[in-house]
Symmetry: C2
DNA sequence: CGCTTGTCACTTGTATACATATCTTACGAA
DNA sequence: TTCGTAAGATATGTATACAAGTGACAAGCG
């Protein structure tokens, strides 16, 4: 289940802590300190930090030390725009490439959507998989995973501050999925852009209120 | 000028050798061997290999050893499609976002295009920068750089086998740039897709003839 | 003859010692 | 008081020793 290699464990742990907000932007990530915290040597810590840097979760600070990445509003705008455009692209491709069988399967899972909070996570996962597999392009799928990981902390933060946003986000996802199932790629792409624009606006307002 | 850190030098050297074709897909990259070749220890070699893996230039083989990444025709198709779509996206954004000043400057450099082989490299660089800066999105720019690096070996290989392809590629680039300058985003995006599709066809035919 | 299994060689994973660079801080002179 | 410089501390960069895992090959058994 869990990876054997120590470097993988450190990477997973740090990634989870950053995404969960336990490690906040700007927090220092000294190799020696982390090595002591995980009771390991600096070598696997270095590997984990380098991978996190490649994923954009951490960056180099003074003394070449790693720190949790700090996102300016402009960087956040770029990230959400990129995510929206790539997802729109994949949605369009999925709409025209998914097989009838895959669409039918997706329709079934959506009908089973119960509507509670747990159901939201399920719908989200279905949504993500529909784009990943439906677009039929492993490179784009990898980029999508990457952008999703990088934006996850802020997308989650939306729902912590306003529970209503979860409902509207949920409706938007359903609409996009239905457009995909109707093989209307342009509509799916357009809805996706609107969806990400709304999410960005919510996040920007949130960080403007709480610096 | 050159980076001071040994890991950076190793990374740059290996990247260059892979791109130049001196290291061919499937070639083993043992840490000990490379350490000896560069007269350094395994530590910076490991960092360089991990970065190359994150960039998709190398992958894990048997015994968790790194090998130069082997691209199947399907992976190549995904890569070129992704590159074409992202560049099309950036071309569309650039067409609508570039300032009149930037467009005028770009027009001037294109008019100065001399038409020889050296000019092709210049035009290519202008083209790349126009997309990078014109789209005004650092995240998309980073993804574009990444995809360009990953596809560079094969895009270069086109011209090694058929010099004529360089001329047609050159014409296609010019047409896309003119569409961008005319602020016709849809046309720029469409031309870009055609351009990448043609490149992919050339590359696939090439690797089919020479396995 | 084929399959299994055990050993061996070689690789990567980890720990740690040492080198080097940079930031901080203290001290002195203008 | 302030600026500059030098020394010291602390972090990362590198080298190397040791541990552990895996594939290959061969020998023995069915």
């Amino acid at each position: 289940m869990t990876a054997k290699r120590s470097a993988d464990q450190i990477h997973a742990a740090l990634s989870a802590q950053i995404v969960a907000g336990q490690l906040r932007p700007g927090d220092p990530l000294g190799e020696t300190v982390l090595a002591g915290r995980f009771s390991l040597s600096r070598t696997p810590v270095r590997e984990a930090l380098q991978r996190l840097a490649a994923e954009g979760l951490v960056e180099r600070g003074p003394r070449r030390a790693f720190v949790v990445r700090q996102m300016t509003p402009e960087a956040l705008r770029d990230l959400f725009e990129a995510l929206g455009e790539i997802e729109a692209l994949c949605a369009g491709l999925a709409a025209q490439r998914m097989t009838a069988i895959a669409r039918a399967e997706l329709a079934r899972t959506i009908d089973q959507d119960s509507g509670d909070h747990a159901g939201y996570a399920v719908l989200n996962a279905q949504f993500h998989d529909a784009l990943r597999h439906g677009a039929g392009n492993r490179v784009l799928a990898g980029m999508l995973d990457d952008l999703n990981r990088r934006s996850l902390p802020w997308r989650n933060a939306q729902f912590q501050t306003s529970a209503r946003r979860m409902e509207s986000s949920r409706r938007e996802h359903r609409a996009i999925l239905q457009a995909i199932m109707a093989q209307d790629g342009d509509r799916a792409a357009g809805l996706m852009r609107d969806h990400m624009a709304t999410s960005l606006a919510v996040v920007l307002r949130m960080i403007a209120e709480r610096p």
